[in-house]
C-alpha cells in the first residue's frame, strides 16, 4: 500500500487527493459489480419473462 501510494504522481497533497478519488471510484465500481451479481444470481426481483 505504501509503495502504491508512493508511486502516485505529484507532491503529497496531490497523492492524497488521487488516492481518495481512486478509492471512491473503486467502491462505486464494486457497488455496480455487486448489484449486477446480486440481480443475476441472488434475487432478480421475481419477474416472469
Amino acid at each position: 500500500m505504501k509503495r502504491l501510494f508512493a508511486a502516485l504522481p505529484g507532491p503529497q497533497p496531490v497523492k492524497i487527493i488521487l488516492a481518495v478519488v481512486i478509492v471512491i471510484a473503486a467502491l462505486v465500481a464494486l457497488f455496480f459489480i455487486y448489484d449486477w451479481i446480486g440481480a443475476n444470481l441472488l434475487d432478480s426481483g421475481g419477474t416472469i419473462q
Binding site: 455487486y34 448489484d35 441472488l42 434475487d43 432478480s44 426481483g45 421475481g46 419477474t47 416472469i48
Partner: protein
C-alpha cells in the same frame, strides 16, 4: 582440510532464496484470502443491508407518491359495464368488447386510468406477513430499477381490483425483501391491494413453484385474480414462487363475483 573450510556465505544465499520465495507465496495467499474474504463480506453486506436501506428509504417517499396519485387518479375513475371476458377494460386497447346480454340492468365496475410507468400507484398489504402488515408500495413496471423501489406491477396485465389476472413481482431477499415470506401464505390468507378505486381484497388459492420463463402464470383468467411472483428458493433466482389469489371483496367484487 581445505574442504572443511567452505565459507558459510557460499551456501546461505541459496537457502535464503528458497525460503524467501516460500514466504512470499504464503504471504501472497494470505493477502489474497483476506481480500477475497473482505470482498465476499462486502457483497453480503451490500445485498442484505445496503439494498434494503435504499428500499426502505424509497418506500417512505413512494407511499406519499401513491397517496397523492390516488387523489389524482380518482378524478379519472370511470364506471363501465362489466364484461366477463378474459381481458381487462384498462388493457383492452382498441376495440371495446360488447357488454354481455343480461335480463337485468348491466353490472358495472370502476375502472381507473392506467398509471404511467414507474409511478407508485398501489399499496399491497398482507396481514399474515409481518413485513407487509403495514403495506408495501407497488410501482408500475417490473424492470430492475422499478423493483429496487417497490413491488412491480406487470404493465400488460390488468390493474389490481380489475377483471383478469393482475401480476405483481417483488424481491425475495434484497431491496427490502417485500416477498421474503410469501411461501408462508396458506389457502385463504388475505391480500389487500389499495388503488385509486379503493381496497380490493383477495384470498390465497394456490402456491406453486415454476421456472422463470413460464409465462402462462401471467395469462388472463376468468373472474379477478392477483398473482404474486418472487424468486425461489431464497438467495437464488433459479425458480419462481407463485401465489394465486382470487378477488373476494372490494369495489368491483359484487359485479365480478356475481357474473364469474
Amino acid at each position: 582440510m581445505m574442504e572443511e573450510h567452505i565459507p558459510a556465505a557460499a551456501t546461505t544465499p541459496v537457502a535464503r532464496t528458497g525460503s524467501g520465495l516460500l514466504v512470499r507465496v504464503i504471504r501472497g495467499i494470505g493477502w489474497a484470502s483476506l481480500i477475497a474474504g473482505l470482498l465476499i463480506l462486502g457483497f453480503v453486506a451490500q445485498q442484505l443491508f445496503v439494498t434494503s436501506w435504499f428500499a426502505d428509504r424509497n418506500q417512505t417517499q413512494l407511499e406519499q407518491q401513491a397517496v397523492t396519485y390516488f387523489e389524482e387518479a380518482q378524478a379519472g375513475v370511470e364506471v363501465v359495464p362489466y364484461v366477463p371476458a378474459l381481458s381487462s377494460p384498462t388493457t383492452s386497447g382498441g376495440d371495446e368488447p360488447a357488454p354481455p346480454v343480461t335480463s337485468g340492468p348491466p353490472a358495472t365496475i370502476l375502472v381507473e386510468p392506467a398509471p404511467p410507468v414507474h409511478q407508485a400507484f398501489a399499496i399491497i398489504r398482507i396481514p399474515a406477513i409481518l413485513k407487509l402488515e403495514d403495506g408495501w408500495t407497488v410501482v408500475e413496471g417490473v424492470n430492475r430499477s422499478d423493483l429496487k423501489n417497490g413491488a412491480g406491477h406487470m404493465a400488460h396485465t390488468p390493474l389490481p381490483g380489475q377483471p383478469g389476472n393482475a401480476v405483481i413481482s417483488g424481491h425475495r431477499t434484497t431491496y427490502g425483501a417485500p416477498f421474503h415470506d410469501l411461501d408462508t401464505l396458506a389457502h385463504g390468507d388475505v391480500i389487500e391491494v389499495e388503488t385509486a378505486i379503493g381496497v380490493s381484497t383477495y384470498a390465497v388459492r394456490e402456491t406453486i413453484i415454476v421456472k422463470p420463463h413460464e409465462l402462462w402464470v401471467t395469462e388472463p383468467r376468468d373472474g379477478a385474480w392477483l398473482t404474486l411472483t418472487t424468486c425461489h428458493p431464497k438467495f437464488s433466482s433459479r425458480q419462481r414462487l407463485i401465489v394465486f389469489a382470487e378477488l373476494v371483496d372490494g369495489p368491483n367484487a359484487p359485479a365480478i363475483l356475481g357474473s364469474a
